[in-house]
């Protein structure tokens, strides 16, 4: 899986979860940058990503995520 493809897929998932028209995700994007990204929408985000990539996150993995780049790394690790 390449990072850019995952980033663009994640952008679509983010738009769906946060109910936004357009989302431009970068590795450095954090919850600070997206107003709708709060603890509640984060729960749906995790479930939506799990469904899309057919993976399951442990709670510890979720707590360790600091930015979108970490998320992409975790997805690559879990799908390879």
């Amino acid at each position: 899986m390449n990072r850019d493809a995952i980033l663009s897929e994640l952008s679509e998932i983010f738009a769906d979860v946060m109910d936004l028209d357009e989302v431009e995700l970068r590795d450095a994007t954090t919850a600070e940058d997206i107003e709708e990204w709060d603890s509640l929408s984060n729960i749906r985000l995790v479930v939506s990503i799990e469904r899309k990539y057919k993976i399951k996150f442990a709670n510890a993995e979720i707590e360790a995520l600091r930015c979108v780049g970490d998320l992409v790394d975790t997805i690559i690790r879990k799908t390879s």
Partner: protein, 640 residues
């Protein structure tokens, strides 16, 4: 759709690909939005993200919605766990079942306190309906014990607390309480012995659920059997320990759409929105093959082949629904004689001609025929479910008649019964003896229509029916059916006021209320209870609160018999006038002239665009409709 899945709401159409954009565009032109459009949008299998997108769109257009046929409701959700996802999901799913809900949920962990506190935000919200969704962890039934007395004490406390919530909700003016059973976790404690050990968690929760059902009976509450739903999905799938730890989610987030649809179908049933009639296609829906091509010997139905047994199961399911009052109809593209042939002559058919209230087989398009079926049965098209194996026919009927429920079907007919059952079209909040007779009554009605065609002269026809009309005050025996009629009757309903069984019980005891439940039999059969009349007693004026009748007995002059009864009682009590209001709704134009036809004179308007009518008792002369009048203790309704 190859496979059937409850979780994926397989019976619903898949959501359009650009659903999010559709939601963002909803009501963007600042105009009014029709309830029918919202119901149609909600009538897709929406995932949680889509449900929330829809909920936000509803927030944006609130105040600009014309409910139309949607029934407005104020719903409070009192749960032991996180409700941030279930509340919007229920609100959107409710549209699918004909309810336009305004929602309220207290902060996390405050449900019990809010229900019991008369000065709470909940009391200020003025809910019509409250869902009490307890969870074993909130009930204190989440720890096993070797001490049976300790288990008993925990269960008793959990029930007492829930009963206390019902008391508080009643004080806050909530008319209908929905009690949710507690799902039982999958993890064993002592293994297969668990249900025999009173202190195990499964045994504790199971005992709680049993008592909760008894509590629902005692308090005229509605039941939402979440435990049964969790078992149907699989208890191991229902609970998600990660999500519980993450956010105190009571069940897996992926199941929110299914759970919300189940809450919504119960809300619909409370508001009389459940469907009344199942319309069946024939070829490849009730039997395998095409009768017109394959002939009687060629169609597959019956024991001996997997395909034949699948169609047998569909027929058995239709008959099981008929047994509880769902009317059956047939709508098939066929020559009529060919379509009727298997019903008459195929030895393995379970369905017979006399099970079908309306049988339509021709080459007209199905939407037109389905409209005709609704008309013949005197019910709205929104009371119909249409079962057809052909996706093109389904799409066309949906397009022409969006109010008709048309389930998506899996490829293999073996799954048809599951798809139809899990869709929840025929949800009910009570079954009465009258339900058992209903399908037969509709069929008898069709026979009456044919009889009338034979006689021609209408008065002679009425006289030939040997009608017996039974008018009596409300009683315990009739209560469930009275409440059912009050919540289901739309067309012949002067005020469309909805009351619960608890309300009906109160009226029965209220000396300031004159009430009648009316039944009608004739030589074709028993129509059961077909009319309810409620007047509020004043010194001078008796004011009509509710007057409704089943359309099955339209034109039989039952309303004249009812009026004679009310007028006699009002006169005896010394009243001067009867007052009646006609409050127009989307469906009751039929009775616009009801009071005029009975000799009332118009005397002004009611708030809400209706008209008020008065009848002077001094000069009123009661008609004598051609029927025998009976009923116990009718003349004097002395309530104590």
């Amino acid at each position: 759709m190859a496979e059937f899945s409850m979780e994926a709401l397989s019976w619903l159409r898949r959501a359009p690909a650009d659903f999010r954009r559709e939601m963002r565009a909803l009501g963007a032109d600042e105009g009014r939005v029709a309830g029918g459009e919202l119901a149609d949008l909600a009538n897709h299998a929406l995932d949680l993200n889509q449900l929330l997108q829809f909920d936000r769109a509803l927030n944006r257009i609130t105040g600009r919605i014309d409910p139309g046929a949607l029934s407005p409701m104020r719903l409070a959700v009192l749960a032991d766990a996180t409700t941030d996802f279930t509340v919007p999901a229920i609100r959107v799913s409710a549209l699918r079942h004909g309810v336009l809900a305004e929602m309220f949920a207290p902060a996390y962990g405050a449900a019990v306190r809010e229900a019991m506190n008369p000065a709470s935000d909940l009391a200020r919200f003025k809910a019509d309906v409250a869902l009490v969704a307890r969870d074993h962890r909130g009930l204190g039934l989440n720890a096993p014990t070797m001490d049976p007395d300790a288990a008993e004490a925990a269960i008793t406390a959990a029930i007492a607390e829930t009963a206390g919530m019902i008391d508080g909700l009643e004080r806050a003016g909530v008319r209908t309480v929905i009690l949710q059973t507690a799902p039982i976790p999958a993890e064993p404690w002592s293994g297969h012995f668990d249900m025999r050990a009173p202190g195990s968690v499964p045994a504790q929760i199971s005992a709680f659920n049993t008592r909760l059902r008894a509590l629902a009976d005692a308090r005229a509450a509605v039941l939402l059997d979440a435990d049964a739903l969790s078992a149907a999905v699989g208890r191991g799938r229902w609970f998600d320990p990660l999500e519980w730890n993450r956010a105190k989610l009571p069940f897996s987030l992926d199941l929110t759409p299914l759970y919300a649809d189940h809450v919504a179908r119960v809300l619909g049933a409370i508001r009389g929105k459940a469907r009344k009639c199942l319309v069946l296609d024939l070829d490849n829906t009730c039997w395998g093959g095409v009768i017109g091509d394959d002939g009687l010997e060629g169609v597959r139905v019956g024991q001996g082949s997997p395909e034949g047994e699948a169609f047998l199961a569909i027929q058995a399911q239709a008959l099981a629904l008929k047994a509880r009052g769902v009317v059956l109809a047939v709508c098939s593209k066929n020559e009529e004689d060919a379509a009727r042939l298997p019903f008459r002559e195929h030895p393995d058919m379970l369905l017979r001609e006399d099970d079908i209230a309306v049988f339509v087989a021709n080459w007209t398009d199905k939407a037109t025929n389905i409209r005709g079926i609704a008309k013949a049965l005197n019910i709205g098209v929104d009371a119909l479910v249409f079962l057809d194996d052909n996706p093109a026919e389904r799409a066309r009927v949906r397009q022409m008649l969006p109010e008709v429920a048309v389930p998506e079907l899996p490829e293999d007919p073996a799954w048809y019964p599951a798809a139809l059952a899990h869709a929840g079209y025929f949800e009910t909040v009570g079954l009465s003896a009258d339900d058992a007779k209903r399908a037969e009554q509709y069929r008898a009605n069709a026979a009456r229509v044919q009889e009338m065609e034979k006689i021609g002269d209408y008065d002679a026809y009425l006289a030939s029916l040997d009608m017996v009309c039974d008018l009596r005050p409300f009683d315990e025996v009739g209560r469930t059916r009275i409440a059912q009629l009050i919540n289901k009757s739309n067309q012949f309903n002067l005020t469309t006021r909805r009351y619960t069984e608890a309300d009906v019980a109160e009226m029965q005891a209220d000396p300031k209320i004159f009430d009648l439940q009316i039944r009608l039999t004739d030589r074709f059969g028993d129509n059961g209870m077909i009319s309810v009349v409620i007047f509020r007693i004043g010194a001078e004026d008796w004011i009509c609160d509710t007057w409704l009748m089943s359309c099955r007995v339209l034109g039989r002059r039952v309303e004249e018999a009812a009026l004679a009864e009310v007028a006699a009682a009002a006169r005896a009590a010394g009243a001067q006038r009867l007052i009646g209001d006609y409050i127009p709704s989307a469906k009751n134009k039929m009775v616009e002239g009801h009071f005029a036809a009975l000799g009332f004179t118009e005397c002004g308007a009611t708030p809400g665009g209706g008209t008020r009518w008065a009848l002077d008792l001094a000069s009123f002369e009661a008609a004598t409709p051609p029927m025998k009048i009976i009923g116990a203790e009718r003349r004097t309704q002395i309530k104590t």
